[in-house]
């Protein structure tokens, strides 16, 4: 290696020695800049290669561990994504793949000093977590988001063996929660923890072990506990860590005496650095006031599991003058969103989730009225995820007129094929207004009844679009073609239940190698059309998920992605690689 580097140095045509150039490139923060400099010339390619410490892989099958370790010899931090996003909607079968273990085996040999691992939609087994805990002596940070395959036994391995652990962030996983005793596996000498998040576990935890852990980790800045932690227990934890920046409260429900209530309020008031608050799984309006004094510096409220009503939210928001990010459930209704518009002038991101997306009878939730109210009061809004039951073209046009800087616009009208409920027209003009007005738009999710006109608008105006999600929309192949032809920066296209066929698929031949992935499920694709794509583009992996027991010429689920690693080596029988 040293010889190779010296040899390369002889060919240097720059004013820098290698170590200086590597130091300069090592100071670049963004992934985009790092990738850019590696495309400048051979010398910079090599300098970036040797200086890089962290790597992001958006699709675990786009590259193999062997290729990665050859390309970047000095990695300390790996971020890896696995299954297609539609696995969140149960469209990807169990045992599809994305197992982390083969990566860990190679890392153990090539990156023995690995410190950080951040995984999303990967399959992680307890054996893999034990392997991770034992093979990487400097390991510090583990983040598992929307992963599956492991249990609290795996967490016990991490707690037992990772002596330098600073971060354990377990969120939204399909985890087998056997018991809460994994917390007692942290050694008594362990004091380095800074982030602890087990909010989505269900079992009672060993609270004594938790309290001891929290009290001795003086650098703890993020603590997110699960439902089983009571308000009294929460208070006992908080008094140990007044330096907290992020707090997840658990259920936030319990009968308290007035003294206990006062103690909790006092403990929360003492957390002067608190900027992020989440939890309140079973919020009781009676106890919300204890939070008020802690809200002064909050920038992020994550109440995506908190069934607050509009009154509860309104009273809380009065105390949150610096709020920038807000996630709520649609139980806050339009009145709650009007309060957002009134009290949160700095808001940049709003997500409104459905409390019960399948509940047909109840008349509640948010509408275009709430959406307009937020846009009127929050001019900095640039990220929105909005689940609602009805919407109009005019309302969306008003919203983007009020907030033209959207980079992420995800509108989910919950009933497929729903019209503008006032005019009974398609929702084409709504999304036309979005792409015409929001020139910085990077991510778009469309819904409602849409014809190909929407996609003509997208192809014509959305010049910065990177990710598009489409469901139950479009009239013909033309719609998809407009998007593929017209969006130069498109990286991910996710399509389900649309009438796009082989012609649409094949119209993107010149596009897919510059995209990260294409997902099409329940469209009008045939096996022959997909085969033709695979034949034409050998550097793409073209996979069909075949769950039907009968023979059919239809290709129900198609996943296309570029890869330098070639076909998958671990495909299960129902994944056909063409």
């Amino acid at each position: 290696m040293e010889c190779r580097r010296k040899k390369e140095n002889q060919k240097s045509n720059s004013t820098f020695p290698d170590e200086v150039l590597e130091r300069i490139l090592g100071m670049l923060k963004s992934r985009k800049d790092k990738s850019t400099v590696s495309l400048v010339c051979k010398e910079w390619f090599n300098a970036e290669r040797w200086s890089r410490r962290s790597v992001f892989i958006g699709n675990c099958y786009s590259v193999s561990p062997e290729i990665l370790t050859r390309r970047f010899p000095n990695i300390r931090s790996v971020t890896l994504k696995g299954k297609p996003r539609f696995s969140d909607f149960n469209l990807v079968p169990a045992n599809w793949g994305a197992d982390i273990h083969s990566w860990l085996v190679v890392f153990a040999e090539k990156y023995p000093w690995l410190e950080e691992l951040r995984l999303k939609r990967m399959t992680v087994t307890d054996e893999s977590l034990e392997f991770l805990a034992l093979k990487f002596p400097n390991f510090k940070a583990l983040s598992l988001l929307s992963c599956d395959g492991f249990s609290t036994d795996g967490l016990a391995s991490i707690a037992t063996n990772c002596k330098n652990l600073t971060e354990l962030d377990i969120q939204e996983n399909g985890i087998e929660d056997k018991s809460g005793n994994w917390l007692s596996c942290f050694p008594d000498s362990f004091t380095s923890l800074e982030v602890l998040n087990f909010a989505n576990l269900h079992n009672d935890v060993n609270f004594d072990a938790l309290e001891k852990l929290v009290s001795r980790c003086k650098s703890l800045k993020t603590l997110k506990v699960n439902k089983s932690v009571t308000l009294e227990q929460l208070q006992r934890l908080i008094v140990h860590v007044p330096q907290l920046g992020e707090l997840g409260t658990g259920s936030f429900s319990q009968e308290l005496t007035s003294q206990q209530c006062s103690d909790l309020e006092s403990a929360l008031k003492n957390c002067k650095n608190l900027h992020t608050l989440s939890g309140l799984w079973v919020a009781t309006a009676q106890y919300l006031p204890v939070l008020y004094s802690a809200c002064t510096n909050l920038t992020f409220l994550n109440f995506s599991y908190a069934p607050l009503d509009s009154d509860g939210l309104t009273k809380l928001l009065v105390h949150c003058p610096k709020l920038q990010r807000l996630w709520v459930v649609d139980t806050v209704e339009d009145k709650g969103l009007e309060a957002v518009g009134s009290h949160c002038p700095l808001l940049e991101e709003l997500r409104v989730f459905p409390a019960d997306p399948f509940d047909e009878g109840i008349v509640h939730g948010v509408t275009e009225s709430g959406f307009i109210a937020v846009s009127q009061g929050c001019p900095r809004l640039h990220y929105v995820l909005y689940f609602c039951r009805q919407m109009t073209n005019a309302a969306v046009a008003t919203v983007v007129q009020n907030c033209p800087d959207f980079t992420h616009f995800r509108l989910c009208i919950m009933h497929p094929g729903q019209l503008d409920y006032l005019t009974q027209e398609s929702m084409d003009e709504a999304f036309g207004a979005v792409v015409k007005t929001c020139t910085k738009l990077q991510r778009l999710a469309v819904s409602g009844y849409l014809t190909d006109l929407t996609f003509e608008y997208i192809g014509k105006y959305a010049k910065n679009l990177e990710t598009l999600s489409v469901a139950f929309a479009g009239s013909s192949d033309w719609g998809m073609r407009c998007v593929l032809d017209g969006c130069p920066k498109l990286r991910k296209l996710e399509v389900r239940d649309c009438p796009f066929g082989n012609g649409a698929l094949l119209s993107g031949l010149g596009k897919y190698e510059s995209m990260r992935s294409l997902w099409m499920s329940d469209c009008n694709l045939t096996m022959n059309g997909v085969r033709l794509l695979a034949q034409e583009m050998p550097r793409l992996n073209v996979e069909v998920i075949k769950e039907e027991s009968y023979e059919t010429h239809q290709a129900k689920k198609v996943y296309v992605y570029r890869s330098v690693a070639g076909p998958r080596r671990d495909a299960p029988p129902f994944v056909l690689t063409l």
Binding site: R23, M27, D477, G503, V564
Partner: protein, 360 residues
């Protein structure tokens, strides 16, 4: 006596270090300023040099007089105790305001003198210059060669020759079908060339990996340009074939029965009338001869039903491509449609067509 005391004190007020740059010039620098550089400090302590002009310290090659002047300005300011952090920060911000070339030279010189604070300062400034730029902009700013993709360009130059040599004999049903498969083979061959290069030159793989790791607009733009270029060549090729088809059609159309002519003209009109039409079925009158031809072609290992479906898909695909042509190209496209029937009549037509193509 008083005068004598002054004389004694005066020589002791300043000590100097003598430094020599690579061009041979020697200068005298205050000791405390020069010693602020770790490399110079080491030299003085280890070798005793620097005490006189004759025994000046030789500085590394990367330190020229101009850079040395800048570095000493930096050292003069920072070696003085008592400046506040704010004052130091203000000085630094003004200090690094210079053009990129000079900033690069300064970074290199400071590194050779092991003056880490200054290297960090200038490195950070250079990193800020790099942020947000495209590879082309960075090459321009830093005067770097575009040597990463040189080999790829050369490969492209070789491609036509290779194609001509390897072009196989056309034996397919009709003009459209043949063109499509030929395009497939050509592109596959191109990919094979790249694959062959892979063991020898890892860069294309690593380049793509880097692209995948941080895929974004600017880099994708670079790649999109390549794709765009490829597409353009393909279109030109298609246009030439279409012209050839027109000529062939003019020559062969007359002997055909007028019924064929009318049917295909209607067919073409129907195709042009609906830009967004789905797969279009050929008239039955054309179907039977084609099928017969399929049965007679023992070399073809495709299943007839699969071939038929593939044929429709290829036609649909070609229509998508054709729809991108300017309006006047539609005439050629119509001609192409008319040409379908003669090809399907017999294998001689196909051979003849191939001959024509070769002559082009």
């Amino acid at each position: 006596m008083f005068d004598a005391a002054m004389a004694v004190v005066k020589p002791e007020m300043k000590s100097y270090i003598w430094l020599q740059t690579v061009d041979g010039s020697i200068q005298q620098v205050e000791e405390e300023v020069a010693m602020f550089c770790p490399m110079i400090c080491q030299e003085v302590l280890q070798t005793g040099l620097g005490s006189s002009k004759t025994y000046a310290i030789s500085l590394p090659q990367r330190v020229n007089p101009a850079m040395l002047g800048l570095i000493l300005d930096y050292c003069r300011f920072h070696q003085v105790p008592g400046h506040s952090n704010k004052e130091r920060k203000t000085f630094d911000e003004k200090f690094i305001r210079m053009d990129t070339k000079k900033l690069c030279e300064l970074t290199s010189a400071a590194d050779s003198l092991q003056l880490k604070p200054l290297v960090d300062l200038t490195s950070r400034a250079l990193a800020r210059i790099i942020e947000g730029k495209t590879p082309e902009e960075i090459r321009e700013t830093f005067h770097l060669p575009d040597d990463l993709t040189e080999d790829l360009c050369q490969e492209e130059k070789l491609e036509p020759l290779r194609n001509i040599t390897d072009d196989p004999r056309i034996r397919l049903l009709n003009r459209l079908y043949a063109r499509k498969r030929k395009e497939l083979k050509e592109r596959k061959k191109l990919k094979d060339v790249e694959v062959e290069e892979e063991p020898k030159d890892e860069r294309s793989v690593e380049d793509l990996l880097s692209f995948i790791n941080g895929a974004d607009g600017d880099i994708k733009g670079t790649r999109a340009n390549k794709n765009k270029k490829k597409n353009r060549r393909r279109k030109d090729h298609a246009k030439d074939i279409s012209s050839e088809n027109t000529n062939e059609n003019d020559k062969e159309l007359n002997p055909l029965p007028s019924a064929y002519h009318d049917v295909n003209f209607d067919n073409a009109l129907e195709a042009s009338a609906s830009k967004h039409s789905r797969t279009q079925n050929l008239p039955a009158i054309n179907f039977s001869p084609k099928f017969e031809f399929i049965d007679g072609d023992v070399d073809d290992d495709l299943d007839p039903a699969m071939k038929e479906e593939l044929d429709r898909e290829v036609e649909d695909f070609a229509r998508r491509l054709n729809s991108d042509w300017p309006e006047r190209m539609q005439i050629l496209s119509l001609g192409q449609d008319r040409r379908l029937v003669p090809i399907s009549m017999n294998s001689n037509g196909s051979t003849h067509l191939y001959t024509g193509f070769d002559q082009r």
